[in-house]
Structure formats: structure tokens, C-alpha cells
Symmetry: D2
Subunit: 336 residues, 4 copies
């Protein structure tokens, strides 16, 4: 009856969130759960917190022709299946990074290898609804943004677009919960390695940087280089992006105006805690001019698995199918 | 026999660390534990993890004339007792902020009120041994640096001094464990408020900023404004300072040279985790030029209660009394 | 249009959960948020994660005559307002302990003071729907169980009722997240006191013990004494109750049968993690006979704020108003 | 000059603690660090928090003939190398479980397979100094106890020995920090699996149970069966054992008397927090009779990597070499 939805990569953290959200969604019906190494096992083996644990994870290749497919796959694993699904007329939301760049040149500059299907990049819409505007309504193919770019661009894009900050000498320090690093068995993801510690990683090399720079260029019309440093923080979920840029004008009216009609973005009058948004699809933004240093500080908090991944993908799918933008998406956090 | 040491403010987190370090110190003998509201109670009531729990906390006024006094008191509570002790010939290490500024003008600019004893500021030495050099050997009065300035200046001061980074447009984002915020009963320090969340606080207004700026000015000879944003992270101890400045030259040889003789500072070849230094008096520093953004990134990890407070105070006291700089100070962390 | 619901004690953790659940409930409309010290302030000041933050917290006395009132008040603060509301024909769900005991004698034995209205105790129904059965359908006054008794009785009551374990020599060790201890400013609730530590509290004296014993007596027909020891664990939410009793018969068929029609209780084939139920109103139960020690081990995991407080209260209210038992209650957890 | 000490299994958590303790020890000199998969790499790769990070991990077989060898190896990996070292006249402290049982029959009953060298079991001393008494002074071969048995037996052994509790119907629920589960790459040790959750594991099957039962039998003279359930708690270090047994007499005088001369065990007048002992080699014990349930509750807190592993091994080695029992062992915890 409902719109048939397939989830490819259901065994990861983002995939599990997609299952949780779509199971409760008024319009979509999950009818396919695809996985690699977990294929053949019941859902409860990988996500004991979900209902319908008897559902069996299937091999990816068995996806068939759903109305919409959500791809929650590792970097580089989306482009082929995404292209195949598109060829069969399936609407696709790719949570990976394969179709996020606007041109093959930018992709190659960012990732160091040519894009396998550069002529197709123009057919995928960048799925940040608050900034992509009406593009997503009725779109067939959406590349859902990365978690860090979502947080950084929600704060910075309206400001560079309005000329309220300079689009250069931007410094972004982001702090993420550990689910943002995925579920693979790595020494640096052990509790013993993460708990009671904080550290930066991928300093100067994280592949979300070119994605952030693309967004700032689109908003400002100016090519720019940002300094982006991600940090891992001992918590399950949440991202705080602390963004600094040379000040030009008061950021608050610009942000307030930019998000006046956005159901998920709230401009608040104090620095946000990630705890206030974790569990919801909301973004909390605070901005102020540091007159002493003559720089603007923008602080953005999101849940990396919701507005930074599964929630935002569902938000895009709502628009693709002409549904209310908020359908099936939680507005409240889980605090405490 | 040993050097008689008094601890004023023994009931707080930094005070407890002082007790722990000095109890195990080869030269100092703790003979006075002063407290305000806990006076009259045994030490075990406030620090059940320490030995000698039967020792009674005494009223501050009973301090008498020890050889050295360590002041671990709130902002504004040190200057009077510090002056009184100095007048009696007691050597003093003040872990508070009352005597950290070099001039009354800077104090007033920073804190908004005149310093009560501006003519005395010149008599107190800023107690960051790695940067203050031989000043501390034999000094009588030492103002021990704040935890954030310690981390930021260990990374930035040698670089601005050597002209390896520009001393302006500096952006410092620091992440601290919760003990850095003290032990008072506040809603924002409850486990329910802190756990599983990260947030910035005191944005643009933290009083460690002028202290950082003073250090950078002294090192570079140039007056400057930095943007400093502290964050609270759900962990007990540790500070990571992520410092960004416009690049001029390779920072690594400068830092390596600067700390070649420093027993506590290690320049490492990867981003440090706070976990690697927690429990020790060490600082781990990593620096690299982000050629894409043309900015230098310096990452510094310390334990806020050790190198950022009690450990550094003991290090200064070692120098004041002509002892080996490392006497009684742990070099290994507690990982895991 | 909907059923008007008042929440008294909206500023606490359980109160906040009631707001979150009832705001999303298909039948209830929250039209009163009562608080003590926070009265006059907007909801966002105490619960920034909720929507509708502009709603003003009102003084308790202004509650008026809603269709139903939820009392999330401290021990001893419910009986008077509960009686007053009952007198005005308001249906009441009391999340406190004032009306949980079946007789005045038991209340006095448990709490050491006479119950102020012992003749009214019989008018309040103990609100553990899985065990209280049809009693709650159409009930006017419900005393919602404590979080620990909920977890312990869900595991033990069917077993003692069926004679599958002996109702004596029962040992219950429960481990709770910190929100179970409330939101007050206490030294032992600071992050610095809780993080990276576990400890027992209220050993032999916790007032949930007599409530557990009442439940076991009702189920078994035998008066009994249990040993109950609560522990605080460094996490926000969740309770695990590890219950041991002398074995008589295989517990699994008894429990499976007992909960075959219960939407919220699942008997699983491995020890439950609290993470699997946190965020949902579910209880996960595992039981096995330890043949070596000849004792049965029952492990029960719930979310202390959901099935242990707000969720269970809404579940009871659903029954009181003839609604589906699951209306407005989440079935999935939040992992990860 | 000092006593040459080898550490086999230096790359694990317990091995790292041994390095940390022995590097600071007044009598032992670490001259060999053995590892399996990490052999050939510098120590800093596996333990960046330690000093002397340049030291190279060597293959186990290169151990040679130190004065003493500490074996921190997985279950089943100690017996062969332990026997070989013993044959060369090397004193050995085995932190593993291969030589802990007193007889081959008990070993086989516990582990399901025959012991490879049952005739040698009598030559190894069980290394719980507080209970093993003078046996360890001058001993050549010591099997250091498991972390859970250490905590449980410190609380229960003196009580069953004195007849203060019955040696049957004993129920032990232990809660451990995650380092107790080791450092291997397992899904259940990921931060995402552990953080914000508590759960029991190895219910009824943990191999520390027979070790606990052996200790109780030796103390009481009675063969017994205990119910032992370990739990994993979201923290790095620490074990709390909550032990319940039928009451006979007041436990406090018995425990106080038992440990009057023990430098590491303190009987305290309130339930211990693990935080109070983490980082030290101490055990904090509290005991009380629950007159209502007629059972005695004994609560024991230790650091699983110190008194539960590396600290206790060094304590035994101190006795083996006629050193002061406390040499090189910290007495204070790390709180906060």
C-alpha cells in the first residue's frame, strides 16, 4: 500500500537508524533490508533494540525494484548500485559520498581518483533541504550530505551567502560522537581507546573538507579553502561544529531569516549542547561576533545519525515524494 | 626534616591532587591542609581515595608559617592570603589567577576591576617553567598558569617567538574534562547534564583568553587578539587544545628545538589523545602545516589537574627550592 | 478535543519524559505543566530538548480540573494533591510512592510513619499492567510502581506465582543509570562523582524493597523478605535487575506464557543489555537455572524513565481511558 | 644491578600496567618485553602513555633467563612457558589461570579438560597475599588470582573461615570495568556496544566461579557452590563485588581483625565506590548484616588491573624476593 522502501547497508549504525525511522514512517514501508556479511541473519542479531527482529537481512543483489532505495554503504560502494537502481527507475537516496560532488573535476581533486561516472554527477541533487531549496521536491536521485558538512554548512552557508562573514580564513573544529566513525572492528573504536579521552584525527586530510568547501563556494560564489579538524569525543551520538570566520556583520538576523521557515533548524540565544538535539532531526545554531578578535563564532549541534545521516535522508525522501517535510521525523531529543 | 608545605583549598579537585603529589614527594612534607566549609572534617570525607584520611582539614587562618604554601583557591580568593604569607617570608605558589597578569593595567583590562595590589604583580613569576626559563629557580612567589593557557602557550609560544606562525588571526578551540570546571554544586556539572554531550561555554568571554594573549605577546613582542573557545567534554580529566594560526614556516623543528631539554614536553608525530597524558605531568604536542589552508595546526594534550594545575605547581616549587625539576612528578599516564 | 492532561512536577527527569510522550500521544493533550521552583519560567529553561519550549511552567496550585493528572513529585508530596484531585473527579496517575502500598500497616512498616490517609489506599490501583491485569481498565486512581520494583517484579512475580522458584532467599542486585536518582544538586550526582565508578547505595534500607516484597507476596501468597541492593552505574538511563532465587522448575516456559499477550515484555534467549531497551517502553527478560548452584537467575532490563516511570504511567493511563495499551509509547530503543 | 624482570604479554592492558609499575619499582629492572603480534614494534605503538617508548617488543621465545618473569598471557598460554622458565630456575608470577587450581581434578572439573601438568600444580602458590599468608615469602612459582576471585575472596574468605556467614547459598554479583575483558577486537568491546549500557555475561559459566569456590572451600573446609554473575559496566577500570551470604555473626569485627596487618585492605564504614581505589593496589571492603533478610552483604572494590592483576602480581613478587610487601605499589587512587 505504502511506498516500498529498500535499505542497503542495514547492519551499520546509520542503516539501523533508517530502519527505526522508516518502520515508524506514515508513508514508507520497508520491504528490503540488504547487508553484506550479515546477510542471512535476522535483524535482531545486529540491532537488538529494533522491533521486527525476525526480518532476515538479504544479499544486496536481491534488492529488486522498490519505489525508493536508501544506500548506507561505505565510501566507494554506492556509485555502482546507485547507477543500477537509477537505471531501473528507482528513486535513490545515497547516504554515502559517491555522488555528493558537483563535478568530476572536484571529485578528482578531493579524492585523488577520477569519478567512475562523472557525467552522472549533475543528475544527483545535494540533499541538504534547508540550503538546496526546492531542488529536492520531486527529485529522483539525492546524495545526502556528510555529517560534518551538514553541521558546518547549516551554520556558515547563509552567512557567506549574505556577506556576513568573509568566506576565507575559516576554521572549523568539529567534535563527534563515536557512532560517526562507524561500527567496524578497529583498535581506535574500542571502549578502552575512546572512553575518557578526546583527540583530533585526519588532521588536514578528512574528505569532508572538500564537501564543506563546495558548499561554501556555492553559497558565496567564491572558491575558498577552510581548515577543518574533526575530533572524536567519548559519547555515542552528536556533533558540535565550532566555526570561526572573519566578521563582517551581525550573524543572528541573517541566520534567523534564513531558517524562519525551516522546521528542523532553530537559532538559539546560547551555545548549544549536543544533548539537546540527540535523538531528533533538529539542528541548534548559535552565532555571535567576537568583537575582541573581530571574528564570528558559529556553533551548530546536530545528531550525527539523524540530521547528519538517516534523519536527513528521510527528510529528503519526504520531499522527493511530495510528503510533508517532517513526516516520520522526531522533533524532540532524548535528554536526559 | 623535609620542607614544610601547606595546602590552602585542599578540598577541591586541584587541592586533592596537591595532597596526592606532595604526600609522595621526596622533599616536601605536607603539614597543613586548609579548607573553608570542610574545615573540621577529616580528609577522607572529601578525598576518600587518598591515604592519611584521618588528617583534619583546618581553617585557612591557621596556616602559620610553612616553608611553602600552595593556594588552590577560587578566583579572587588568593591575593590577600598570598600577600600575607609573602609578608611572613613564606614562599607561595598560587594556582589561582590573582597574580598571573604582568601589570595592573592588563589585569584591569582583563577582569574589569582594578587589581588590589598592582605594585606587587612584578614580584610574582609566571610559573610555566618551559617558557619562563631560569626565572623560577629560587623564586619566592609564583603564579601558576591556568590550565587552558598552559596547553595553548606550550604549543603556540615557541612558534610565535620563532616567527614560524603569525601572531594574529589565531583560533584556539580547547576541550576539557569536567574536573576543570571545579567541584561546586551546579546544574551544569551534574552527570545528567554532562554525560553524552559536548558544548562550548564562556564563548568570547573566558578569562583565560587575556592570559593566553599575554603569553603570546611576551613570546612574539606583538600585542594580539586570539579567539579562544573552551568546550566541556564528558570525561574526568584532560585538555586538548586545537590551535590554528597562519603558517610561515615548518613548526616541527621549532618545537622540537624548544623542548629538547624539557623533561615533560614531548613533540610527537601524530595527533595526541588526552588519554596518553592523563595522570602524568607531561604535555604531548603535535604540529603540522595545512598547506591547503595555509595555516598551521598545533595540538596539545595535557592533564588539566596535573600539568594544568597541581603538577605544574609542584614543578615550579621544585625549581623554587633548587630541587630536580621532575622530583615527585609522574611521567606515565594511566591508560587505559 | 483530546483528553486534557496535567503534569505536576514537569521540571524533573520523569516529568520531562511525560511531556515528551504526551506531546506525541494521539489521545492526550497536555494543558498544564506544574512546577515548584521553576514556576514562571518557560519549559525550555529546564528541558531544552523538547518542543514547545515557550510553554510556561505554572504553580502546582493552578492545576484546575484536567481529565487526568500525572504526578511526578518527590516522596511524600503526592498524597495531598492526589486526594484533592480525586475529590474533584480528576483521574490521577501518581508516579510517586505515596499510594503504592496496599494497606496502612504495610506503609507504616515500610516507611516508619503512619499513612496520612490509610482508608484511601484501597482506592488506588497498583499500576503494573502486566501483573495488575484488568484492574487498570477504567480505573480512576493509579499508583505507578517504582523503577526497581517494576524490573524485579516483571522477572520474579510470574515465577513465584507459578511455583517455579521459592519465594524466599531471594537476592536482587539492581544497577541503575543516574537519572533514576533525580535531578537535585547533590555532590554524589556530580559528573566527577559518578563517571568511571560504580557503587552500591542504600544497602538494606532502600524503600523500594518493601514494594518488591509486597509484589512477591501478592503473587505467591507468602510473606517474604528479599535482599535488595541498588547500584549506581555511570550511564544516563536504564536498569538491569539481576535476580536470584532458589530454583524449582524451568523458568522460561512460565515467563513466556506469562507475557505472551504483553506488547511490552519480551522474553529473550540471552542476557539483556540495558542499551537494547533504553528509549522504549519495553522490558527484556532472560532467565535460566544455574544447576550448579541450584538457583534461578532472572535478568530484567528496562529504561528507568520509560517502563520504570513515564512510559509505564502513560501505559496505565491508556488503560484507564480505554485506549490501546501501546498508544503513544515507543517500542524501539535508541541504540546506538 | 637490580633484579632482572621479564614481562611476557606486554602489549595487553595488564602487561602495560606491569611495565608501568615495574619501571617505577625500586628493586626490579625490566629487561625484557615479550609480545606476539606486536613483536618487533616499539612499546609506544601499544602503550603511548608509558615512558621508554623506544623499547622494542621482542618475540616471547627470546626471554632468556631473567631473575623473574611475569606472564600476562591468555588462558591456556602460560603453562608451557611457565614450566620452561621454572625449569631454568626463573621465578615466575603467572597472571593467567593455568596454575591457579590446587589439583588436577579440580582443574578438569572447572575447565573440562585435563591439566597438561597436574603433578606440577602443587608447586605453584596461589598468590593472594592477604589470604595465602607466609606461603609466598620466598616462593618460586606463583599463580596470581583472577580479578573477580580476588574481590570476592577478600570479602568472603575471612567470614566463612570464622563462621560468620554460612558457606552456602552464596550469591556474588560483580561489576567490572571494560579493561577486565581485555583488548581484543570484538564487537562487544566497541565503544558503541559498551557505552551507556550494563549487562551480565557468562551467566553461570564464567571460569572464575570454580576459582572462587576453591578459595571458599580452603577457607571454610566445606565444599560449596556459589552463584557468580559478572557484569560489564561502562568504565575503564574497577570491580565491585556485591556478595551475599546467610548471616551468622557480625562480619565487621572478623574482617577488621583479618586485615589489621594488611597494608592494602581497608575495612570501611560505608559502601565503597570503585573510583576510590582505581589506580591503587588497595581493596576497600564494607560489610553489614541485613537483619530483615537475615543475610550478610559484603561489598568489595578493587582496581581490576592493579589489585586484580598487575599490582597483585608485583605484591607477590615483592614477597618472593623478600622485599617490603608495598614496594613500588601505589596506595592512592586517581580520583577524580
Amino acid at each position: 500500500m505504502g511506498t516500498a522502501a529498500a535499505i542497503l547497508g542495514a547492519s551499520g549504525y546509520a542503516g539501523g537508524e533508517l530502519v527505526r525511522l522508516l518502520d515508524a514512517h506514515p508513508a514508507f514501508d520497508v520491504d528490503f533490508l540488504g547487508a553484506h556479511s550479515s546477510a542471512g541473519n535476522p535483524l535482531r542479531d545486529v540491532h537488538p533494540h529494533l522491533t521486527g527482529g525476525d526480518r532476515i537481512l538479504e544479499p544486496m543483489a536481491a534488492v529488486g525494484e522498490p519505489d525508493v532505495a536508501f544506500l548506507a554503504l561505505p565510501h566507494g560502494a554506492s556509485w555502482e548500485v546507485g547507477e543500477a537502481l537509477a537505471g531501473r527507475g528507482v528513486k535513490v537516496v545515497d547516504l554515502g559520498s559517491d555522488y555528493r560532488m558537483d563535478t568530476g573535476d572536484r571529485y578528482e581533486a578531493a579524492y585523488g581518483t577520477p569519478h567512475p561516472l562523472p557525467h552522472r554527477l549533475g543528475d544527483w541533487h545535494y540533499g541538504l533541504p534547508e540550503l538546496s531549496g526546492i531542488d529536492l521536491r520531486g527529485a529522483d536521485l539525492v546524495a545526502s550530505p556528510g555529517c560534518y558538512p551538514t553541521s558546518a554548512l547549516l551554520g556558515l552557508a547563509p552567512l557567506v551567502a549574505a556577506g556576513a562573514v568573509e568566506p576565507n580564513a575559516i576554521v572549523i573544529d568539529s567534535m563527534s560522537g563515536v557512532t560517526g566513525a562507524g561500527r567496524s572492528l578497529q583498535e581506535n573504536l574500542l571502549f578502552g581507546s575512546v572512553d575518557e579521552s578526546v583527540g583530533a584525527y585526519a588532521v588536514g586530510t578528512h574528505r569532508h573538507r572538500p564537501e564543506i568547501e563546495m558548499g561554501i563556494q556555492i553559497a558565496s560564489g567564491v572558491e575558498t579553502a577552510v581548515q577543518f579538524t574533526p575530533h572524536l569525543v567519548p559519547m555515542q551520538r552528536g556533533i558540535l561544529s565550532t566555526c570561526s570566520a572573519p566578521a563582517i556583520a551581525d550573524p543572528l538576523p541573517v541566520l534567523t531569516e534564513a531558517y524562519v521557515a525551516s522546521p528542523f533548524v532553530e537559532v538559539i540565544d546560547q551555545p548549544p549542547q549536543t544533548r539537546w538535539v540527540v535523538g531528533s532531526n533538529r539542528a541548534f545554531i548559535h552565532a555571535s561576533v567576537d568583537v575582541h578578535a573581530n571574528r564570528t563564532m558559529v556553533l551548530v549541534a546536530i545528531d550525527n545519525l539523524m540530521k547528519g545521516a538517516a534523519g536527513q535522508a528521510v527528510q529528503a525522501a519526504n520531499l522527493m515524494f511530495g510528503l510533508p517535510e517532517t513526516a516520520g521525523l522526531p522533533m524532540t531529543g532524548w535528554l536526559p
